[in-house]
Amino acid sequence: MNAWVTSLRAIVLREALRFIHQRERLIAALVRPMVWLLVFAAGFRAALGLSIIPPYQTYITYETYIVPGLCGMILLFNGMQSSLSLVYDREMGSMKLLLTSPLPRGWLLFCKLVGSTMISVLQVYAFLAIAAGFGITMPGWGYVTVLPALLVAGLMLGALGLVLSSLVKQLENFAGVMNFVIFPMFFLSSALYPLWKMAESSELLHDICAVNPFTHAVELIRFALYLQFNGAALGWTCLAAAIFTGAALLGYDPARTRMGRKT
């Protein structure tokens, strides 16, 4: 049991150290959503239209609407970033070292997932603090109730990153992940526009957004920020997390994968 905790601590610490030593990564992680919040959202201030949807009880500015989506964006990009680092680890050989540990591979991957999620959640809080500095605030307790939602969403998106890292052979191929996973996932969700707005332009777009697990992660965060529980969003996010984790375990199974055959 002790070895399990030691491995968890070591992997989480390694993630934290790596993050601390890459200050530009923190800055980049914060600049990206801030640009969306202060530049993109400013231009679309009046474009959202007027319809009160849960969890909101009154009219909100677009800046306020977009905040949960940008929290999700941080988690999404970080999940991908950590999968990118796994590809790098594989190229550098440090992954081999990690996976030769006597502990179950599933546990090691879970530790990796926890480490990257912690880093993501910290970044989300830094972003929320900066947003509050610009006057975009949530209910006080919302900053507390959002924590479990961020953890669940972070684990789900981190697990997706693990799946991708098991499929991507080389760092160079990662650009494809940006184009075919991150951007569609982000844009085809409720992060930037509510689903009813999507339905106005196309029912198909709306349906795609509705099945996108990122939409449910964003809605889970949105409701939690306003002290409300969204059971459906939690259910879908957990289901997606379970599927991605299963796929990641399968992807990293030495008996089945290309990587396994190589080692």
């Binding site: 201030r45 009880q57 009219y59």
Partner: protein
């Protein structure tokens, strides 16, 4: 000690209990909102196109300008029954109740007159010629002066309530909509919808004291149209409805500076406070709802669906 605290805790919310009565211009109804639950608890039928609404001093009667019925209706707020109509002149829009609790001063938009009605004898006691399309009405706390603003003449008309005659006319910016006396009647404020300003007058000599302009970020200036406004406890701040800009401005009544803008529903028109003035209820005509603003936090906390085109709002304590 605990018992006293418990009793006080029980008494505190009861002391603040009340309702906001909202006239729905297109539905010919009044929606009654509880200031505790922030929900519509009752809907009453009225005459056609209800707009201005005001309670008698003891809250036993509610007066409603039923504009298209050309009448001021008197309703029993306990039952919602229309007791009788008062003669009002054509197209009554806004009115004020004199501090004597008896005389209603009514703006007759189509006739360019202000009609004075005695609510006891139910008779018109005076009709005063004012500018074209009178709308905004205000009465000084001592009851000596009544103001009528005329939308097309762009003037505030000062009426001496003893003689029922005009004693001054002052120019304001385009389409004045609403007027209020503040600071114990030493100042009088008039909002100008098209001009986009509020003009502050010194009541002593009817001279212009200040002019307040508004600028909402991201909203075209043409859409920033001040209409109704109300003052917080102690007249320290004014909350001003800015019409189709969908914002309420918070104005410091000492410095005349705009301190904040609060997003509310579409085409915000009039408003009223709850008992302790901690909550403000704004009528949003186009979106058909009432937005509740936390006055201390200066934040909209909820929007409540009412009838179509809510217009006027008036508070009534329920205990």
């Amino acid at each position: 000690m605990i018992r006293i605290a418990a009793a006080l805790a029980l008494m505190a919310p009861a002391a603040l209990a009340g309702e906001i009565w909202v006239t729905n211009e297109k539905d010919n109804t009044i929606s009654v909102i509880s200031t505790e639950t922030l929900e519509v608890i009752q809907t009453y039928e009225t005459g056609e196109r209800p707009r201005g609404i005001i309670f008698s001093r003891d809250y036993s009667r509610v007066y409603i300008c039923a504009s298209d019925s050309n009448a001021v209706q008197v309703m029993d707020p306990e039952t919602g029954k229309i007791l009788h109509d008062l003669p009002s002149g054509d197209d009554p829009e806004q009115f004020v109740l004199h501090p004597n609790d008896r005389h209603l001063y009514i703006a007759n938009e189509d006739d360019a007159i202000t009609t004075v009605v005695d609510t006891e004898t139910r008779k018109v006691i005076a009709q005063i010629d004012v500018g074209v399309e009178p709308e905004g009405m205000a009465v000084s706390p001592d009851g000596k002066i009544v103001i009528t603003t005329s939308e097309t003449t762009n003037m505030a008309h000062w009426i001496d309530t003893e003689t029922q005659e005009l004693f001054a006319n002052t120019l304001v910016d385009s389409r004045p909509r609403h007027a209020e006396f503040v600071k114990d009647g030493t100042e009088m404020w008039v909002s100008s919808e098209i001009g986009g300003t509020i003009t502050v007058f010194d009541v002593a000599d009817q001279s212009e004291k200040a002019k307040i302009a508004f600028e909402v970020q991201g909203v075209h200036p043409d859409r920033v149209q001040p209409v109704g406004f109300e003052f917080t406890a102690g007249d320290s701040h004014a909350f001003v409805a800015l019409g189709p800009s969908n914002h309420v401005a918070v104005v410091n009544a000492e410095t005349y500076e705009v301190e904040d803008y609060i997003l509310v529903g579409r085409r915000v028109w009039h408003m009223d406070f709850n008992a302790d003035r901690s909550l403000l209820f704004t009528t949003n005509g186009v979106s058909g709802d009432v937005t509740v603003i936390d006055v201390a936090a200066r934040k909209a906390i909820k929007s409540i669906k009412v009838g179509r085109f809510p217009w006027g709002a008036a508070f009534r304590p329920t205990n």
